[in-house]
């Protein structure tokens, strides 16, 4: 019998010893609740299976698995942007690998409390933007509402589309030393983090796959399906188009916007993509204007419409508020929902709750006193040492609260005097809050467990069946062991949250769910802005490639002793110069210096760093449409461009560097085109590449071919056009004018030839919206047809400099025609204001 009582008991004892060893050095902080162990240091029941599993794996194995999770995050391109970083850099997502484990019963309580709170906040919003009975009856002073920058006056009296303000709600919670959970803050504007929670789950589940299964961890997919269904239902036009409105790639959580849009099958949109006509919102696409009836916004409401809200916003959609007022678009959450995030609200909610809902609140928020009221102000001033003072209407405020809330006890004497004065003169701006000590959860550090304070964020979605709680969440875990909530405002790592079910979890696994969502995904017409970026991404990448070929060929010629002259070095330098890849002031430098300049100079638009940066920037705004691998390749290349090349570098080093970069670019092109379906996005990317390559081929030929051309120079042209092998395989002879020109320009099967590019361009144009079929040919189509005809009608000798130059100009015209037809998004400018005198 494999499972005799005796063996089982031994196994249990062994397990208990291993767990004990794992916990040996774990010391909870004094006076603080620990999630994993009780006051006596014994592991809590719902943590033991995980501890046992970790103990059994051993430190090395655990370490290995956690590294694998990090690799997964890196490969998936999970990053966040750091606002404070002057270089605007992105950082790897800091995952604390051990999840927070929450038992079923406790979770049920939490969920019930949060649903109730969501209902309360909805009711408060409905009242404050509607009847206003809460203020009139004295439940809340008017200034506690009017002081919030999120009290959007243009939305007063406007009924929210679909009948409710909130479709998505999140709360930050902390657990007090007595074991009770408290709401620390509410997120109603546009709660962030659900996408990160999803990524955390995937990464951690990869590291600990068996564990997630045996522990019956509840899955997240169902929640997102409900959210998706609930938003799709708001779409009255029935076209199924839901957009995720992002402030753009400079936002710190842009990755999450792109990720969620992709996961939920929504179009990722920026303000520029949208236009308002006759009180409805439209996306500018390559196939014309298409209705967008539902916008899940990650843009703060204040920025949503420069006409009626923040007039300095460059991120919004002019006229959006008017469309909202007319019921032409559903904003999720409704514009103005951020009002109830204000800390000032928390001082009134505990009293309002029972009045509004007719039941006591299950989940308290931390005790808060709004200093606009005389009695409350005196309370706060009298107990300043024990309280946290926070801005009443936001996270920060100029002056003492520039970095956020302050603990009274932490204030220096002068600061304290200053703060007391400020509270006395403008009490309306401040709240006092109870100073909360957070509970701790374990983090894995160098093979050991250590307790760290954390804040738990939980997400809720309003669905047809009422509020649904995401069974999981997102922990922000502090890097230090200071458990005061007020110090948790920045930094730290994030952790997954595992909610344990009592029975086995239904296998609606996350990954098939992703597939299911994707299958239903409406690819829909490509937004113009995305098309524009694809097109230019193609052009920049191709231009970078051409420049690298020039540099590599130049370095090759310089290092080869057999360089036959024919002035090819001079012509290569001339080409680099024409492209603005080398500085004008170094005509007397040795040619290798030119090559180095083209590789490294950041100040020259035509040099490699600038081109790669342009490509990366372009790619960054269509990141949701690129494969993560393709994006990484490009991002890595941009980093590699920053590596210095020693000024004294010899030609072989330059050659090697150019060669390496060319390979990276080739990898990007391969990944970008292989992993994209053959829809409009790919067509625009390829159109850009083809046009750019065609132009480069003309320029190369113009510079290198003339009456007096020597064989050596023709060889350079073949190298630049990557056609040496083909030539050698066809002609057993030294390079001669007509065959070389034929191969480089006219040969329709050479994928590097001008004719080949032109054929591809014509094909793409035919397949774009508004072309082909019965449509009369558009200017760009006629132009492509003329070019193709010229390729067929002429012989190699006909292509002199003049003809090539004409073709170049036609290609540029073609590029302009495409831009004018498809890239109809435009950044609007403001009407200047009249100065009142």
């Amino acid at each position: 019998m494999p499972g005799s009582i005796d063996q089982q008991a031994r196994a249990r004892r062994f397990e208990a010893e291993a767990v004990e060893a794992l916990l040996a050095g774990y010391r909870p902080l004094p006076g603080v609740y620990d999630e994993m162990v009780d006051a006596e240091g014994r592991p809590r029941d719902h943590w033991t299976p995980m501890l046992a599993a970790l103990a059994e794996m051993g430190a090395e194995e655990v370490e290995r698995r956690f590294t694998a999770a990090d690799r997964h995050l890196h490969r998936s391109g999970v990053f966040y942007r750091v606002y404070d970083d002057p270089s605007g850099g992105e950082r790897p997502w800091p995952l604390s690998h051990l999840p927070l484990v929450i038992g079923a019963a406790e979770w049920r309580d939490l969920a019930r409390g949060l649903v109730q709170r969501a209902q309360l906040l909805e009711a408060v919003l409905a009242d404050l933007y509607g009847e206003g009975g809460l203020v009139r009856s004295g439940a809340m002073p008017a200034a506690a509402v009017a002081g919030s920058p999120e009290f959007l006056r243009p939305l007063k009296g406007v009924d929210p589309h679909g009948g409710s303000f909130l479709k998505l709600y999140a709360a930050d919670l902390g657990r007090a030393p007595d074991g009770r959970w408290w709401v620390l803050s509410d997120r109603t504007q546009s709660p962030s983090g659900a996408g990160y929670a999803l990524e955390n789950r995937i990464a951690v589940a990869r590291a600990l796959p068996d564990l997630a299964r045996t522990l019956n961890v509840v899955r997240l997919a169902g929640f997102f399906q409900s959210l998706r269904a609930s938003l799709t239902r708001l779409d009255r036009s029935g076209e199924g188009r839901v957009g995720l409105l992002t402030p753009g790639p400079l936002n710190e959580t842009y990755f999450e916007h792109a990720y969620l849009a992709r996961y939920l099958g929504f179009v990722l949109l920026e303000g520029e993509d949208l236009t308002v006509r006759d009180n409805a919102v439209y996306v500018r696409t390559v196939a014309g204007l298409k209705r967008a009836d539902v916008l899940l916004r990650r843009l703060d409401a204040d920025f949503a419409d420069p006409l009626e809200l923040n007039s300095r916003s460059r991120l919004g959609v002019p006229g959006l508020v008017q469309a909202v007022r007319a019921g032409g678009v559903a904003m999720v959450n409704a514009l103005g929902s951020g009002l109830v995030e204000a800390p000032a609200m928390m001082s009134f909610l505990p009293k309002i709750g029972p009045e509004v809902l007719g039941e006591t609140l299950r989940l308290p928020n931390i005790a808060t006193w709004w200093c606009g009221q005389q009695a409350e102000r005196e309370t706060v001033l009298g107990a300043l040492d024990d309280l946290v003072v926070a801005p009443a209407f936001g996270r920060t405020m100029p002056g003492l609260m520039a970095q956020g809330a302050r603990l009274g006890a932490d204030l220096k004497l002068m600061e304290r005097i200053e703060l007391e004065h400020a509270i006395r003169s403008r009490g309306v701006d401040f709240v006092g809050q109870e100073a909360v000590h957070l509970s701790t959860m374990p983090v894995w550090r160098q093979g050991r467990l250590e307790p760290r304070p954390f804040i738990l964020r939980i997400f809720l979605a309003a669905t047809e069946e009422g509020w649904q709680v995401m069974p999981g969440g997102f922990c922000r875990v502090s890097d230090s062991s200071d458990s005061r909530a007020v110090t948790m405002q920045r930094g730290g790592r994030s952790a997954d949250v595992w909610v344990l079910d009592e029975g086995p979890v239904e296998q609606t696994t996350l990954l098939p769910a992703v597939g299911r969502v994707d299958v239903r995904r409406q690819t829909g017409p490509l937004p113009s802005r995305a098309a524009d970026n694809f097109f230019w991404l193609g052009r920049y990448v191709e231009r970078a490639e051409a420049t690298l070929r020039l540099v590599r060929t130049l370095a090759g010629r310089l290092s080869s002793s057999t360089e036959g002259g024919g002035g090819s070095v001079g012509r290569l330098l001339g080409l680099l110069d024409n492209w603005g890849a080398v500085p004008a002031d170094m005509s007397r430098a040795r040619p290798a210096r030119f090559a180095i300049a083209a590789l490294t100079r950041r100040d020259l638009g035509g040099a490699l760093p600038g081109l790669i940066e342009a490509a990366r920037n372009t790619a960054s705004v269509i990141r949701d449409r690129l494969s993560p691998d393709a994006w990484r390749t490009l991002a890595d290349l941009a980093v590699a461009m920053g590596e210095p090349v020693p000024l004294a570098a010899a030609e072989p080093e330059v050659y090697e560097r150019a060669d390496r970069s060319l390979r990276a670019l080739a990898a990007f092109s391969g990944l970008a085109s292989e992993n994209m379906n053959r829809l409009s996005g790919w067509r625009f990317l390829d159109l850009g590449r083809r046009i750019e390559r065609a132009i480069a081929t003309c320029r190369f030929t113009r510079a290198l071919v003339s009456e007096t051309t020597q064989a050596g120079t023709l060889d350079v042209l073949l190298e630049l056009c990557d056609s040496q092998i083909t030539y050698r395989s066809r002609y057993v002879m030294v390079e001669a004018h007509a065959p070389v020109v034929d191969l480089v320009l006219l040969d329709p099967v050479n994928p590097r030839s001008l004719a080949f590019q032109i054929d591809r361009i014509a094909e793409h144009l035919e397949d774009l919206p508004g072309h082909g079929g019965d449509e009369p040919p558009k200017p760009e189509e006629r132009l492509a047809a003329r070019l193709a005809a010229a390729m067929k009608a002429h012989e190699p000798d006909d292509f002199d400099g003049e003809r090539l130059l004409k073709i170049e100009h036609q290609l540029m015209e073609l590029s302009n025609d495409i831009s004018e037809r498809y890239f109809i998004h435009r950044s609007p400018v403001e009407t200047p204001w009249e100065q009142l005198a």
Binding site: S137, R426, E834
Partner: protein
Amino acid sequence: MKYDIHQTTAYGYAYPVPVARHVVRMVPVDRPRQRVVASRFTVEPEPVEWTESFDFFGNRVAHIRIESAHTSFTVRTQARVEVDPADLPDPEATPAWEAIRQSVAESLDLGPDSPVHHIFPSPLVRICEEITVWTAESFPAGRAVLDGAVDLMERLHREFTYDSKATEVTTPPEEAFAMRRGVCQDFAHIMIAGLRGLGLPAAYVSGFLRTEPPPGKERLQGADATHAWLAIWCGTQSGWQGLDPTNALRVSTDHVVLALGRDYSDVAPVGGVLVGSGRQKLRVEVDVVPILDPPAAPAKPDRARRPPA
């Protein structure tokens, strides 16, 4: 008093603008002491969309979309407005400023006329310590609120220089304050910033000022601009009291209210966005003609405080 107001605001563009969207607040409405007898409002070129409504503060707003290429955009308003004299309370008889501050903080009125909207920082008026400290000199403990505010207005009028070259429409009040220079808009913003710094409610008012000709001369046509001043809340008894720091005047029948809000951004006569490039030129003409019935009385020759254009 009865006035005929003509206002023309014209934008000229260096290149044709294919698409534009505007928000226009150029028609006065009925307010306490003020009745709009008749008004007319036209826009060129012809908009494809035109929606009129009242904003939160009760200002009349037109939302306009133009979709034909145009090189100029012109708004014309005509209005006949009657203004009753204000019941100007004795400044010293108004409540102490600290009492006003506390009563507003605890007010239970969230409606559009409530002072609670005007004690907080607003898009163009932040609370600035230097201005607050300077303002506090007019508000010793217990001083009547309007008494302090009138004193502040007179100090501003004395210490600041009217200078149309010193500032632009977007100059923040703290900069104009540092220069001690500006135009009516800057002066109104500075006073508002200072009063709010003390927790007092101050609203921004745009409108028109009766302009009288210098003795013996024709009235200048179109020489005037849209004017701005502020209103301070003096408690339920006295309500909102208008103060014009540019002219050191308490507001009565010389002022016609066009719009009011928290600061200029709430009342900007024309806002908008358009697709286009190149320079935009703006020209504004305002005429405020008093209608004197019975027939024109002679203008007062001794009017010392002619408002700057």
